[in-house]
Symmetry: C2
Subunit: 623 residues, 2 copies
């Protein structure tokens, strides 16, 4: 087969690929990942690159093309702009989270009783009158000195036991993992321990994966790393990834490999940085939505997508890391947190766990604004949940200049009501590249307040501002002009984007209303609202209420809790009882299927207005 050269600028990297390769794969060969949220279907428009030389001929004025739809037929030089690239996510952990988790929420009342512990043991030495086996000697020590009965041992720990015991002259350090009262020796070191007892808490998001390395003795986060989920190459949302699994041979294997690679790279980063051996990690707790959990475990997700939406499992077995290909101790225990239903996953039970709402008398509303918009309402007596198919607009997906909360993402804006001048702030003090969730909420709220849009989301003719104009896809409002942006292109919000955002916020609000009706409660019965999810660093509640995303409750009832999914995973790592608690949460939450009946659809249609068609619902915020 013929091969052609593809040179990627500005890096000036050249690779040789077979004729017919698409440019996304060509770039991947060079180690450059191009965005492809639609799974290379040519529909998302996120994979734009410029061809600057084709077959030796310069193309000075060429327009952007879709990398996924462009195949290599000649030698070429392309420019892959920053906005088309998957970049490493900045991990957005607030500084307080870097401190001990144990000073917050649920954690405050929790005695640290982690899943893994290191125990230093000085064993009695054998002689002809005491030739008890090495393992029995260890067991005897644990029983007598630590009150640990019936301890098991992993096969790889057992295989090295005899030599390590003698290397340490019968003084050894045991790493013991205890899951639901069943203790197992996972690792053995000669002599005293080299490192503290360690574990990993992982949030497997559809978009972003975060790995936290935890000192399980004191609950501190030693290090944290996050990046985009490599599965994004097969589709930005769970449904398109399931479709990819179903329509491609080895589809599931590819998707599993992608998420495992993502996690392994993050693990590798934090372990290398902190000079920690793989064998020193005996346990990992993972939280993800039901589709992510299935794919992580290599379970077919097919039936999650098909009515009546039945997942393969909601409680997952504890698996050895070697059975998944996770690069830590081969016998490390990998715990995948339980889900409630196909669209209320382990990320949600984990978030609920982290809020302590399942143990509180206060009526709590938990909202995770991700792809679906999952809601949980309840207290220690009862809990209900639903998933409202909000779409990923607040994660920046399906929005012209939308992007995730990473460097260069606008997360705050202000519009001067007189001059229509716009102030923006981008994450990392970078030149703006696009807009993330919190920036979109501000945009909508500010555009409404300054009369740029009406309550139906239409951009009004407003000759007074050069920022309102006709674009390729209809009316648009320019937040940042090309000269000030980091991409060399205008950062705009189109009328289409606004309609998308209204649908997204409408779905979440309709979900809240439907759930409240189901349990026959009024919105005022809610004592507190926890907002979790990936908007960015924070979310401005007043603006979110102003656009009708969240119900009109006093601002002090709201709290933004960030990535509650990984918090729950940490809690499970640090507290053996939390694993029982989260299984109980998964059992106790009643799932409400919104597609039954017309209630949700009626509520949704009423919510396609800013803030709502029924303004009585938003009296408090002064509408």
């Amino acid at each position: 087969m013929d091969k052609f050269s593809v040179t990627i600028m500005p890096e000036n990297l050249t690779v040789y690929v077979p004729q017919g390769t698409n440019l996304i794969n060509a770039a991947k060969t060079a180690g450059i990942d191009i965005e492809s949220p639609c799974g290379c279907r040519g529909t998302c428009g996120k994979c734009q690159v410029k061809i600057i030389n084709l077959g030796g001929v310069d193309c000075p004025d060429s327009d952007y093309v879709l990398a996924c739809q462009t195949r290599v037929e000649k030698d070429m030089v392309i420019e892959a702009p920053q906005f088309s690239r998957l970049t490493k996510h900045k991990v957005l952990l607030s500084s307080e989270e870097k401190e001990s988790l144990l000073e917050h929420g649920y954690f405050k009342d929790v005695e640290v009783n982690p899943l893994c512990k290191k125990i230093y043991a000085e064993l009695d030495k054998p002689d002809l009158t005491d030739s008890m086996s090495d393992l029995d000697r260890v067991r005897m020590h644990l029983m007598k000195n630590c009150g640990i009965e019936d301890v098991k041992i992993s096969i790889s720990a057992l295989r090295k036991l005899s030599n390590v015991v003698r290397e340490g002259d019968f003084n050894i350090t045991l790493t013991i993992v205890t899951i639901k009262d069943s203790a197992e020796i996972i690792n053995i070191e000669a002599g005293k321990p080299d490192s503290p007892s360690l574990g990993l808490a992982v949030d497997i998001g559809t978009t972003t994966v975060v790995v936290n390395l935890i000192d399980t003795e004191n609950g501190k986060i030693i290090d944290s790393a996050g990046t985009y989920n490599k599965q994004s190459a097969y589709g930005s949302d769970v449904i398109s990834r399931i479709v990819y699994c179903d329509e491609n041979d080895n589809g599931l294997e590819l998707l599993q490999k992608a998420v495992i690679e993502t996690i392994n790279e993050l693990i590798d980063t934090v372990l290398k940085k902190n000079k920690i051996n793989k064998s020193d990690i005996p346990v990992m707790v993972c939280a993800g939505n039901t589709v992510m959990s299935h794919m992580f475990l290599n379970m077919p997700p097919t039936f999650i997508r098909l009515e009546p939406y039945v997942p393969g499992a909601s409680k997952y077995p504890v698996v050895s890391s070697k059975d998944l290909g996770i690069n830590i101790n081969p016998d490390a225990k990998v715990i995948t947190l339980p889900s409630v239903a196909s669209y209320v996953g382990g990320d949600i039970t984990s978030g609920v766990l982290s809020t302590l709402m399942s143990k509180s008398e206060l009526l709590t509303l938990f909202i995770d604004v991700g792809t679906n918009g999952e809601l949980v309402l309840g207290n220690s007596d009862w809990m209900v949940s639903c998933s409202c198919s909000a779409g990923p607009a607040f994660e920046g997906s399906g929005i012209t200049c939308g992007m995730r909360a990473m460097d260069g993402a606008i997360d705050w804006i202000e519009i001067d009501k007189e001059s229509m001048e716009v102030k923006v702030r981008a994450i990392g003090n970078k030149k703006p590249l696009g807009i993330c969730g919190s920036g979109l909420i501000y945009s909508l709220s500010e555009m409404l307040d300054s009369g740029i849009i009406d309550r139906a989301g239409n951009i009004l003719e407003n000759g007074s501002s050069i920022r309102v104009r006709m674009g390729n896809e209809g009316k648009e409002f320019v937040l940042v002009f090309a000269k000030d942006s980091g991409s060399g292109r205008d950062v705009v919000v189109t009328e289409g984007d606004i309609k998308n955002l209204i649908r997204a916020k409408g779905a979440i609000f309709a979900g809240i209303r439907t759930m409240l009706q189901q349990v026959e409660l009024d919105v005022d019965a809610i004592d507190r609202v926890y907002i979790a999810g990936g908007f960015g660093n924070y979310i401005n509640i007043t603006d979110a209420v102003n656009i009708g995303l969240f119900p009109d409750l006093p601002a002090d009832k709201y709290a933004y809790i960030g990535n509650s999914s990984v918090h729950g995973a940490m809690l499970v790592l640090l507290c053996q009882e939390a694993l029982y608690e989260i299984e109980d949460i998964s059992d106790r939450i009643t799932y409400i299927e919104l597609s039954i009946g017309n209630k949700f659809m009626d509520e949704f249609i009423s919510a396609l207005f800013i803030p709502h068609t029924n303004l009585n619902l938003f009296q408090r915020c002064g509408v």
Copy 2:
């Protein structure tokens, strides 16, 4: 590197091997296994082959050479005689064992409650109001209809669950393994089961490996296969194999691979023959001595050989078959039965389990005459054990014409006291190739009774028989002349062989005496004696007492119980309680180290006489 051709006769198989390859490895390349019990050290003399053409030149009168010491430097044609070959063992199961085990001994009182069961389940079908996960649906069914709570599931079963459930239209068959009250789903089939519930019981002998395929619903042996342990290539006894591990890089890996391959080939044979899928085998129970168990699990056996003889473990973890490379269901549970000490292994606890002695008031002596000669004495109140380093003479090893109990092995002889004519019988009605354990006991006893040897084991000058003569290694007695043998060589018993056998029988008898003294009991206190081990089809007790191998008790107190190691493994497979029982046996047996003090050595020296220096001990048999 230069390659030369090696042609092996009579098969006329030619292989090309690098210069310097030894003939054992050259033959192996051609698929022909040559005996090498000394681990190719050139000391056992069992690997004899004849070079019949060297570099194109015929060598008509060449003598036998050691294949292990002969390296390929030219093209060659060799003859590998039958007596130098490892042949597939005939499995020596008495016909009653082919019947249900449950009619015998311990088994009689046992309710079949096997480790694995198949359960057919008709699940409720899901709809939008009941979208419980597939796994929860299965769990609910098992709880409601079978009283099975808290069932686990293996990851590979879980991975196929959703598709199999739908393939069977929500009717499925579950294979559940229950080990110590913890139940796990190991396999799932669509619809009704194709085969009964199955399990494997395996005896991992130093010399021979036996695999029994069991229908766990009724306890019947469906099929059985046995062959030599491929580890024999690295040494015939456990000590030389440990030395091989310690002295060679990857030594342990090679030895593990050898035994796993041996077991896999046997499994493959029985599964193919009975048209059974690998995935249909969810559990395997293995009994082996401590060294075999360590090597099987890939645990270093080094310290077993070194004072104070400490094994890595005496209770072994349950391991997944995929972690060992056993070709059955990848998540099948492999149970390795617990041992007592370095030289009293899982084959002995398994044998003890099978005799029911740990539950009986009768004082029982259990004797396994293998390489070591392991003894257990006791009843339901107490048990003691020891291992008396008898050497493998009764397995045919270290005996000039010794061989294992397989086709062609002499297992019975009779010497006419007048004519000195010898009648022999060989297993399988073949021409005699050598002598196995029971044949050696007969030989010794008959040679004594007919005056060919004296009580010290010396061959007497007896000019009246052409069978007594001077051989290469001193005096010898010819049992079968070359013209009547299957090997074309005389089958002889040398004076050296007789001394070897006397040492072996002396060690066992001395072990029995030492153990009795330790518990301050007289031989007459013994209510019954169970003889286990690999002599052959059976053992003649009168002759065994006659030569002083066993104590002088009435013949009706003796019972030959054959391969009790595999019987115990079967019992564990068929009866969940038996696993608790055998762990209890392993805990309760007190190990007596014979190398402490002089008692054993004194007894041993007294026993180097036929039957004994103290003839008072053998009054009953009329000495």
